[in-house]
């Protein structure tokens, strides 16, 4: 059992590295993998390797494709791990941060920024900043609606997330309605998610919150395992359930808000990846969390490669790719392996 788990983790790690290299090779200009690796080593080790590549190749690898790959990897990891944490916490296969209304909140914040120009004080960051604020306020509101007598019952939380989400999407629809045509296109594109504009600034912006969030969630893996037996059992075994719930919620929300704010709404990663990994590896969060993170990173990098290449020279929004792959796969799981869905 133990060796099978480390085997799977190793495979995923190797897969992640290979997808990174693939993503940098592929694009309008093809770059040989050996060149990619050499440029990386050159940059990392500070010029130990004699350059035998062109300046243009270096610019494409270092300034354009590497930040894009890192960003899609981080977002994929973040969405997958917060999905795993939410599903584990709520013992509900439908739970993911998006279901708690966060994507709607982010969409609403971003639409306000794009259509009405709210949030100008954030300058070039006005859209991600407003998306982040929207997502954060939403989870806070949803949480407080669901709170009764100092507790947050799971069912109420999910329902209030759905209700608030519907309301916010109504606001987004209204904003789309009043937006001029040129602006409308921007809203629609943002809502579908994309890494096309990714640069090192974005990476610097998100890397710390996402990695911190992932580490903190991982610290609670033992609690997540015990919570699978229900909240009352967890109390009896000595877990401060409400505190753990709050920490998991806050950090999943943080991760998701940060992800959404730089990449737009990318659905299905947080839902499908944890499912598949749980199905392969089993319910132990010690392995489930890191494996989901790795798989989420791989999945989003590969989806981004498709987004770049499928309809060249135009890029597809990555949200279309993830939904296009994720939704049918989810249905397949539902039909073929009912066990995976009726997990709890």
């Amino acid at each position: 059992m133990k060796s099978k788990q480390s085997f799977i983790l190793t495979i995923l790690l190797v897969g992640l590295i290979i997808s990174c290299i693939l993503a940098i090779m592929i694009g309008p200009v093809f770059i040989h993998p050996a060149v990619v690796v050499k440029i990386w080593l050159h940059k990392l080790l500070g010029g130990l390797i004699q350059p035998d590549w062109t300046a243009i190749q270096e610019t494409i690898v270092v300034d354009i494709r590497t930040p894009r790959v890192i960003l899609s990897m981080l977002v994929g990891m973040g969405l997958a791990i917060s999905g795993t944490a939410m599903q584990g916490l709520f013992r509900n296969p439908m739970a993911e941060p998006y279901v708690l209304g966060m994507s709607a909140g982010a969409a609403c914040g971003a639409s306000l920024a794009i259509v009405l120009g709210i949030g100008k004080i954030f300058g070039v960051f006005s859209i991600p900043a407003m998306a982040f604020i929207g997502a954060t306020i939403t989870i806070f509101v949803v949480y407080n609606i669901a709170k009764t007598d100092g507790k947050v019952p799971t069912e109420t939380l999910l329902l209030s997330g759905i209700a608030v989400g519907f309301f916010l999407y109504a606001v987004v629809s209204f904003l789309k309605l009043i937006a001029p045509d040129a602006v409308l296109r921007n809203v629609v594109l943002w809502l579908m998610g994309s890494f096309a504009m990714a640069g090192w600034t974005d990476v610097k912006l998100v890397i710390l919150p996402i990695l911190c969030g992932i580490v903190i969630i991982y610290f609670l893996c033992r609690e997540l395992n015990i919570l699978q037996f229900g909240e009352e059992t967890a109390l009896h075994l000595g877990i401060e359930v409400e505190t753990v719930k709050r920490i998991l919620l806050v950090f999943s929300a943080l991760i998701t808000a940060v992800c959404v704010s730089v990449s737009g709404i990318i659905g299905f990663v947080g839902l499908v990846i944890p499912h598949i990994i749980r199905f392969i590896i089993g319910p132990g969060h010690h392995i489930l969390l890191p494996a989901s993170a790795l798989a989420g990173g791989i999945f989003l990098i590969l989806c981004d490669i498709l987004a770049k290449t499928v309809s060249q020279p135009v890029e597809l929004p990555i949200g279309i790719i993830t939904a296009g792959i994720g939704a049918p796969y989810f249905v397949y799981l539902l039909r073929r392996r009912k066990k995976a869905i009726s997990w709890w």
Partner: protein, 256 residues
């Protein structure tokens, strides 16, 4: 070991317990009986700190329950709930190891002591054979044994059980209750158990509390609590209470 003082409890407007006070000594096996809806589960929830009482207090090992953290409570008290949800694909050993949670300081490592306790407990309960099997693939009786093993892995001073034999066949009923009795006798554990079957209650518990109409109706040795008159008052049945020498215990036979 555990004492309740003037406990009252309600769900919204409905009062379900009124002024319930009693005390359980160390190494005692107490049974709580009473008709459906008498408030047994509620009383157990209050004694385990899952529900807070309207008035009154619970003292655990000499300390006010409210002043203890969940972890501190779990180091003293383990609970076998009435029905517990069993998620799939956890092995029996995984589940029993979870009982070590209140004693674990490190978030990731498992100490030698943890491993030893788990091994001992599994052996004691007699579930060594299915240690590496998935708990969701076991029968009801076997699952209950695993849950009890998890409780024992907490090394508790007090063991609370809510109808632990409700869905078990007679063989497993005898086995589980015999086990609890042995733990009380050999390890000095204090056990408090809610149970419906009066014959089993009489046979295994040293002392009984009969709950009725939100209050303690009677309280004492089985032969003092399980009288025809009490059973008539509380359960509204005509019952004959005999002493059966072959099992050395009371035997209750309900007539019409």
């Amino acid at each position: 070991m555990l004492q309740t003082k003037n406990i009252s409890a309600s769900y919204r407007e409905t009062v379900v317990l009124e002024e319930v006070s009693f005390q359980v000594e160390e190494g005692e096996f107490l049974g709580i009986i009473g008709p459906n809806g008498a408030g047994k589960t509620t009383l157990l929830k209050i004694m385990t700190g899952v529900k807070s009482p309207l008035t009154g207090e619970v003292m655990l090992d000499g300390k006010d329950m409210r002043s203890l953290s969940r972890k501190q409570i779990a180091q003293i008290m383990a609970v076998v709930p009435q029905s517990s949800f069993i998620p799939p694909l956890f092995t029996v050993e995984d589940v029993v190891m979870m009982g070590r949670y209140p004693h674990q300081r490190s978030r990731f490592t498992i100490t030698k002591e943890d491993n030893e306790v788990v091994k001992d407990v599994i052996q004691k309960i007699g579930i060594t054979l299915f240690g590496s099997r998935f708990i969701n693939e076991l029968s009801g009786g076997e699952r209950q044994e695993v849950i009890i093993a998890r409780a024992l892995a907490q090394k508790p001073k007090v063991l609370m059980l809510d109808e632990p034999t409700a869905s078990l066949d007679i063989k497993h009923q005898m086995k589980i209750l015999g086990l609890v009795k042995m733990l009380v006798k050999e390890d000095g554990i204090t056990a408090i158990m809610v149970i419906h079957d009066l014959n089993l209650a009489a046979r295994f518990c040293q002392r009984l509390i009969l709950l009725h109409n939100c209050k303690i109706h009677s309280h004492g040795k089985p032969e003092d609590v399980l009288t025809s008159q009490n059973l008539k008052e509380v359960y509204e049945v005509d019952a004959e209470v005999n002493y059966n020498t072959s099992i050395d215990s009371l035997q209750i036979v309900v007539k019409e």
